[in-house]
C-alpha cells in the first residue's frame, strides 16, 4: 500500500481565544481529489494554511508521502511539493502574470534571466494543462477566473505535487467551474493530489473521491464520495437536519414599488459600471439579480441605497427620487422606505467597534424615536435593541457586546433585524448569506420570504446561483453593467443562467469554454 500523500496528526491551532483547529487528523491518498466541507469558520482555511506553512500549528505533526516534515514557512511547503490557491488570491495587482509567477521562485539576484526562463516554462505549462494566460497582462486587468489560473500556474511552476484549492468556484460561472474541474481531473490523472475546499455540496459530489467534514474546529467525518449524499453531508456539517430548499408559496405580485429606467453609473476611472439598467420590482415579489461578481450588481445596490450617484430615473411608489445632488444620500432613501442589507456587513452594515445597541440605530440614528431634543436618547435605543435582539434570536443576547464579538451569522442577524423591522417598502439585499452557515441561512431566508409575504418588494443580489434560484420569484441576469435577460425560476436552469452570466444571449446553442472566456475577459479589465 502506498503512503498517503498527506497525513496530518493532531493538529491544533488557536487565534487568541478562538480555537480554530482542535486535534485534527487527516489522510489524503496520492492521485485523488479530496474534498473538505464545513460551515464558515469551521477551520478549513486555517487547516490548509497550516499545511502550507502560512500559519504555524500550536500542536501536531505533518507527514508528506510518509515522511514527517517540518513546515516552518511557505518556502518549506513549496519545497515539499505543496501548492495552494487561497480563498483570497495572493497576487500583486499591478504586476504582470510573469512577475507574479517568478516572485519568490527567482533564479539569481537579477530578473532578466528568471523572467526569460519563466516565460518558456509558462508556455509549456499552459499548453499542457490548457491554462492559457497572457504572461504580460497585468493582474488588475484580468478577471477572477483568469487570476485563478495564474494562481494554479504559480503552484505548477513551483512543481507542486499536492495542490490545495480553497473555495475556488465561489467566483466562477458554472462553465468556468466545469473547466476548472476538467483541469483538476487532468492533474489527478498525472498522479497529483488535489484538496478542494468548497461549500457547494453538488460540486463536491461531482468531482471528489473522498470528503472530510469539519465542524467547529473539529474533523467530524471522512467519507467516500460514492457512499454519501448531499443531505447526509449537510447534516454532518451542521449537526442537525437542514432543509436545502426554501419553502415558499407562489408570489402574488402587486403594483410596482420600484421602477428603474436607464440607470447609468460612471466610476472615478471613467469606466461605465451600469450601462442603462431598467427593471421593476413589485409588491409581494422577490426579484433576484444573478451575475458574476463585478458586473454591476454592487453598483445597482449602491445607487438604489443612496451610496452612489447615477443618471437615469428611479421611482419609488410612483414618486421620482433624486439620483444626483444633495438629496441622494442613504438617509433620504431610508426616509423614502428603502431598507438595505448591504453586501459587506463588516465594512458597510456594521461598525464593528460599536456596541450592538449602537448598531441597531445605525442609519436610523436620526429617527425621532431614537432622539430627544438635540441629543440622542440612548436609553430608548437600548430598549429597542433588546427587543430586536430577542426577536431575531441573536446570540449572545447582550446588547452591550461590540459587534465584532458576534459570529458572522449573528452579525448578519443584527443587520437583518435592523432593516427588516422597519418594514421597508423596498428591501435591498446583497449577499444575505455570505459567510453565514447553513443553520442561519435557513432563518434569514425565512425572514426575507416573510417580508415578501407582507406585500413588500425585495431586490436580492447574490452570486450564489442556488440562492437566487431558490429564493427569487423572478430572476434578472446582469453582465457588464447590463441586464441580459429575465427568467422565471421555474422556466430556466443553471446552464442557461450561466450562459447569460457570461454575456451570451443565444442560449439555445452549445458554447465552447473559449467563447465564454473571451466574453468574460472583455469585462475583466474593468473589474476591480
Amino acid at each position: 500500500m502506498t503512503a498517503p500523500a498527506i497525513e496530518l496528526k493532531g493538529i491544533s491551532k488557536s487565534f487568541g481565544p478562538v480555537h480554530a483547529n482542535k486535534d485534527i487528523d487527516l489522510r489524503v491518498m496520492p492521485g485523488t481529489i479530496h474534498g473538505i466541507i464545513g460551515e464558515n469558520g469551521a477551520g478549513k482555511s486555517t487547516l490548509m494554511s497550516i499545511l502550507y506553512g502560512f500559519y504555524k500549528a500550536d500542536r501536531g505533526q505533518i507527514y508528506i508521502r510518509g515522511d514527517k516534515t517540518e513546515i516552518a514557512d511557505s518556502q518549506a511547503a513549496i519545497r515539499a511539493g505543496i501548492g495552494m490557491v487561497f480563498q483570497h488570491f495572493k497576487l500583486v495587482q499591478n504586476f504582470t502574470v510573469l512577475e507574479n509567477i517568478v516572485l519568490g521562485a527567482e533564479e539569481g539576484a537579477f530578473l532578466r534571466q528568471s523572467l526569460a526562463r519563466a516565460r518558456t516554462l509558462l508556455k509549456e505549462l499552459s499548453e499542457e494543462y490548457e491554462l492559457h494566460v497572457d504572461p504580460d497582462a497585468k493582474i488588475e486587468d484580468l478577471g477572477v477566473g483568469m487570476q485563478q489560473r495564474v494562481e494554479i500556474l504559480k503552484a505548477l511552476y513551483r512543481r507542486a505535487e499536492i495542490l490545495i484549492l480553497d473555495e475556488p468556484t465561489g467566483v466562477l460561472t458554472p462553465s468556468e467551474a466545469d473547466h476548472l474541474f476538467r483541469i483538476l481531473e487532468g492533474l489527478k490523472r498525472e498522479g497529483k493530489t488535489v484538496i478542494l475546499i468548497t461549500h457547494k455540496l453538488r460540486e463536491i459530489m461531482e468531482v471528489t473521491d473522498t470528503i472530510s467534514v469539519m465542524r467547529r474546529g473539529e474533523m467530524t467525518a471522512t467519507v467516500n464520495t460514492a457512499d454519501t449524499s448531499p443531505e447526509e453531508l449537510a447534516e454532518l456539517m451542521v449537526g442537525r437536519k437542514v432543509l436545502l430548499r426554501v419553502d415558499k408559496t407562489p408570489s402574488k405580485p402587486g403594483e410596482v414599488v420600484a421602477d428603474v429606467k436607464n440607470l447609468r453609473v460612471v466610476d472615478s476611472d471613467k469606466v461605465e459600471r451600469l450601462r442603462g439598467i431598467s427593471l421593476q420590482v413589485r409588491r409581494g415579489e422577490i426579484l433576484g439579480i444573478a451575475g458574476v461578481a463585478g458586473n454591476g450588481q454592487s453598483e445597482l445596490l449602491q445607487v438604489l441605497g443612496g451610496m452612489q450617484d447615477a443618471t437615469g430615473e428611479v421611482r419609488i411608489n410612483g414618486e421620482p427620487i433624486d439620483l444626483t445632488g444633495t438629496k441622494s444620500d442613504a438617509r433620504t432613501r431610508r426616509a423614502r422606505g428603502i431598507g438595505h442589507v448591504p453586501e459587506d456587513r463588516h465594512h458597510e452594515g456594521l461598525i464593528l467597534n460599536f456596541h450592538a445597541w449602537e448598531n441597531v440605530a445605525f442609519g436610523y440614528h436620526h429617527a425621532p424615536e431614537y432622539n430627544s431634543g438635540p441629543l440622542m436618547d440612548n436609553r430608548a435605543i437600548r430598549q429597542d435593541a433588546e427587543a430586536k435582539i430577542a426577536k431575531f434570536d441573536v446570540r449572545p443576547a447582550n446588547c452591550w457586546l461590540e459587534a465584532k464579538s458576534f459570529s458572522g451569522g449573528n452579525q448578519q442577524k443584527i443587520v437583518i433585524a435592523r432593516e427588516l423591522e422597519r418594514e421597508p417598502d423596498l428591501l435591498l439585499v446583497g449577499q444575505p448569506t455570505r459567510g453565514v452557515d447553513i443553520g442561519a441561512i435557513e432563518f434569514i431566508h425565512e425572514q426575507i420570504v416573510a417580508l415578501r409575504d407582507q406585500g413588500k418588494a425585495v431586490l436580492l443580489v447574490s452570486v450564489e446561483l442556488d440562492e437566487i434560484m431558490s429564493l427569487s420569484d423572478r430572476i434578472a441576469v446582469m453582465f457588464d453593467g447590463r441586464i441580459m435577460g429575465e427568467r422565471l425560476p421555474s422556466e430556466t436552469n443553471e446552464r442557461e443562467l450561466g450562459l447569460l452570466m457570461a454575456g451570451i444571449t443565444d442560449t439555445d446553442r452549445e458554447h465552447s469554454v473559449a467563447e465564454i472566456e473571451a466574453n468574460l475577459a472583455h469585462v475583466a479589465g474593468k473589474v476591480v
Binding site: F15, G16, Y52, G53, F54, Y55, D73, S74, Q75, A76, A77, I78, M84, F86, H88, K90, L91, V92, Q93, N94, F95, E99, N100, V102, L103, G104, A105, E106, G108, A109, F110, L111, R112, S114, S268
Partner: protein
C-alpha cells in the same frame, strides 16, 4: 535674468535639491515596502548632528559620515520596530521620531560641546570639499552647455554625485533585481510575498534600513557639505518636502529626481529673490519663503492627479489577529 544667473540658480538648485533627493529616495524604499515614513525629517536631523559632531571631534568628515548614517539607522530601526514588529501606527511613530530627534540633538549638542545647540564650526578635513568633474575647465568655454556642465553640474561635494547616481541605481534595483521585485511586491500585497515563502518582516526591515542609510547621507550632507556644522532644527522641514516630492513623483525614482530638483529650484529662487514680481502683483517675502510649502499643497491638491500609494502602505502586516 541672464544665462549666467540661470546657471547660478541651477547650481544652487542642485545643492539644495540634494538633501531632498536623498531623503526622497530614502522614503521611496521605505514606502515601496509598505512602511510609511514621516520621520524622514527626524532621521536627517540626527544624522546631521552626529556627522557634524563626530567630524568636529575626530576631524574626519568620513568618520562623521559613518556616525551620522549609524544614528539615522538606529532611528530607522526604532521606526521598524514600532511599525513592523509591534504593528504600531506608522504615522505616530514617525511623529515621535521627529520629536525625539529634535530634542536629542539639542540635548547631546549641549552636553558635548556646551555651545548652545550647535556643534563647533567645521573646517578642512572635517567638511566635504567640492570636487570638479573631469574636463570641467576644458569644457567651460563651450557655449550654453559648457557653463551648465562646468559651473552648475561640476564643483559639488561627493554626496551630490552620490545622490544623483542613486537615482539610476534605485531604478535598477527596483525594476531589474530580485530584491526590487520582492520589495515592490511587499508594498502592494504582503500576503503574496508571504505565501511565496519570503519573509515580509525581513524585506521590510531591509527597506527601512536602506531608508535609514539614505537619510543619514542626506543629514550628513546638510551639516558637513552644505553647511559647516550643526545648528538646531537645521533640517527646517526638508523631510516633509521630500515626502511631498515623493508623492509628486508617484513613488518613482526618475520622477523623484525631477520633483526634488523642482523644490531645490524653488528654494534657490526664494534665496535669490526676496520678493517675486509677477507683473500683476508682487509676492511679499514671507510668502516667497513659504513658496515650497504652498507649492506642496497645490501639487498635492491638484497636479499629481491621483497618486496611488503602494497599496499595503501604512498598514502593518497582520497574519493572525
Amino acid at each position: 535674468m541672464s544665462y549666467a544667473d540661470i546657471i547660478q540658480i541651477l547650481d544652487s538648485s542642485i545643492r539644495l535639491g540634494t538633501p531632498l533627493l536623498l531623503a526622497c529616495l530614502a522614503g521611496l524604499y521605505s514606502e515601496r515596502s509598505g512602511v510609511f515614513d514621516i520621520g524622514l525629517e527626524g532621521k536627517m536631523l540626527v544624522a546631521a548632528f552626529f556627522s557634524a559632531a563626530v567630524a568636529a571631534i575626530t576631524g574626519s568628515v568620513w568618520i562623521g559620515l559613518l556616525a551620522g548614517v549609524a544614528a539615522s539607522v538606529v532611528f530607522a530601526m526604532i521606526h521598524g520596530l514600532a511599525s513592523i514588529t509591534f504593528r504600531g501606527d506608522q504615522l505616530i511613530s514617525g511623529v515621535a521620531i521627529n520629536f525625539l530627534a529634535a530634542g536629542m540633538t539639542v540635548l547631546i549638542a549641549q552636553d558635548w560641546f556646551s555651545q548652545g545647540s550647535r556643534t563647533p564650526s567645521l573646517s578642512g578635513d572635517a567638511r566635504f570639499s567640492s570636487i570638479d568633474l573631469p574636463f570641467a575647465d576644458a569644457l567651460s568655454g563651450v557655449p550654453i552647455l559648457g557653463p551648465l556642465y562646468s559651473e552648475a553640474l561640476s564643483g559639488h561635494t561627493i554626496l551630490v554625485y552620490v545622490a544623483l547616481l542613486a537615482v539610476p541605481a534605485t531604478w535598477y534595483v527596483l525594476f531589474r533585481t530580485r530584491f526590487g521585485l520582492r520589495l515592490r511586491a511587499v508594498g502592494e500585497n504582503p500576503g503574496a510575498v508571504d505565501t511565496a515563502g519570503i519573509s515580509v518582516t525581513r524585506l521590510r526591515y531591509s527597506a527601512v534600513l536602506i531608508c535609514g542609510i539614505l537619510c543619514g547621507l542626506a543629514g550628513a550632507y546638510l551639516s558637513t557639505g552644505l553647511a559647516a556644522g550643526f545648528t538646531k532644527d537645521m533640517t527646517a522641514g526638508r523631510g516633509f518636502i521630500a515626502l511631498a516630492a515623493l508623492i509628486f513623483a508617484k513613488w518613482r525614482p526618475w520622477y523623484a529626481l525631477f520633483a526634488c530638483l523642482l523644490f531645490g529650484l524653488l528654494q534657490a529662487i526664494s534665496n535669490r529673490y526676496s520678493t517675486l514680481d509677477l507683473g500683476i502683483f508682487e509676492i511679499p517675502n514671507a510668502f516667497v519663503l513659504a513658496l515650497p510649502y504652498i507649492l506642496t499643497v497645490v501639487i498635492l491638491a491638484g497636479f499629481v492627479g491621483r497618486a496611488i500609494p503602494p497599496r499595503a502602505g501604512g498598514e502593518p502586516y497582520v497574519k493572525e489577529r
